[in-house]
């Protein structure tokens, strides 16, 4: 049996998790204070994912804004973080941009959209 020690990243408490595994299967997660922690522990050892935040360039903003912040609308595989960042490197979105607008659909073929997180006029 294999035991992995993790720090939960679901919230600022940062619970110390102990995940017990056998033959690649999770047997138990302990140390968590909430169900989100248990789910994180399971996922982190089998299929780790992250929300990725970044920014892309904006054109034509009346306030002179040069960039608009963005995030993946959901988790993407940890191994795809850099692919996602590369995929939006050349994106330029025309103002106005609203929170939730898709700035790059299906970023890095993850099936998840990159969406704006700021209002730019």
């Amino acid at each position: 049996m294999e035991t992995r020690h993790l720090t939960c990243i679901c919230c600022p408490i940062g619970c110390q998790l102990e995940v017990k595994m056998e033959n690649g299967e999770v047997i138990s997660v302990t140390g968590n204070n909430c169900p989100r922690g248990a789910a994180y522990g399971r996922k982190e050892v089998t299929d780790p994912t992250r929300i990725v935040t970044s920014s892309v360039r904006v054109s034509g903003s009346v306030t002179g804004a040069k960039a608009v912040s963005c995030k993946t609308a959901g988790d993407i595989p940890k191994g795809k973080i850099f692919d996602a960042i590369r995929d939006i490197a050349d994106v330029i979105v025309p103002a106005p941009v609203h929170i939730g607008d898709v700035v790059k659909a299906n970023v890095a073929d993850t099936g998840v959209d990159m969406v704006a997180t700021k209002e730019v006029i």
Binding site: I9, C10, C11, T53, S55, K66, S69, T117, K118
Partner: protein, 421 residues
Amino acid sequence: MKEVDIVIIGGGPAGLAAAVSAYDAGVRSILILERDKELGGILNQCIHNGFGLHTFKEELTGPEYAQRFADQVRERSIAYKLNTMVLEISRDKVVTAMNREDGLFDIQAKAVVLAMGCRERSRGALNIPGFRPAGVYSAGTAQQLVNIEGYMPGREVVILGSGDIGLIMARRMTLEGAKVKAVAELMPYSGGLKRNIVQCLDDFGIPLLLSHTVVDIHGKERVTGVTIAEVDGNLKPIPGTEAFYSCDTLLLSCGLLPENELSRAMGVEMNRATNGPVVNESLETSVSGVFAAGNVLHVHDLVDYVSEEAGAAGRAAAEYVRSGGEHSGGHEIPVATEGGPRYTVPCTIGPQKVGETLTLRFRVGSVMKDRFVSVYLDDERVTRRKRQVMAPGEMEEVKLTRTMFDKHPDLQRITVKVEEA
């Protein structure tokens, strides 16, 4: 002179939440003065996620969190002025400010909420020897350059200090193609949140050097490298442990200082542990009718707590306006601490003025494990909570209720104790 019931100094998370709660408590004459070109304060450059779990029960990025509160301000048609610098506040609450449209102007306020936030400790305050080359930035300045202006400040980076902004910038610079060689932390523990160590350093294999500091900055025109040494138990560099790190950029994430020039100039009594004003249970400073909330009062770890605290300050300011200040000041008991808390906010409590609930916030001075946080009213323990781990980087809170105080009509002492389990 123009008259306003409540003037709020600063349009960041604290100022916005204070304005909304003061409005909802019935005050209509409110003015927010903000020096930046938009509302939201530092949240605008904090593009990472993790904000709002307490307030909105979902994880938002900084700009999204700011937008929620800015929307609430606009829905209520609360007045604000941008690009406006407050220069002075007099003890009788005349606010002197300036901007390009109005020039220099005075406003007579009935109540003032201080919500100016904080700023980063600079290289000058850290006394790092060496030349003064380009390439030394505070982590927040680098964050502004990358996230707002769209510039990369450097390619090979060392970060001194493991505050959350430094950790967040280690990840951000890495994602944008820089090589972050190390994060050096003077203390034997990180000043940042555990989750940020994991998702900003561990995820990218960036080493965290605890009990290490930068002892020399190399380069004359541009940074060419830094020397990092291990420190002993007295935080003094240990000779022989120096190591050279080649880099073109040094980011500093070495603590935040509440920005209280205005408060000091108007004679507000300050707390030496927080560098913020001394406040009572209503978050009122030593100057009657002047309230404080957010990072100008004490540096917070989570914006959710800033919003909550500022909401309380806004309501207290509204009550001050409504009653003409008749409950201001009065008999107040200083909050004593034992066993760990470096300070508490509020610092004093007027038992007769406590509302339904009262939140006491504090930080401990060192990492502590398996403790109880207890509050005593005279000799009675009124609350006790187990804490597995407490660290200086994370804020603690205890909630007190009106009922607890009602049982102690002749209350003399209030004590927050951290006790061994």
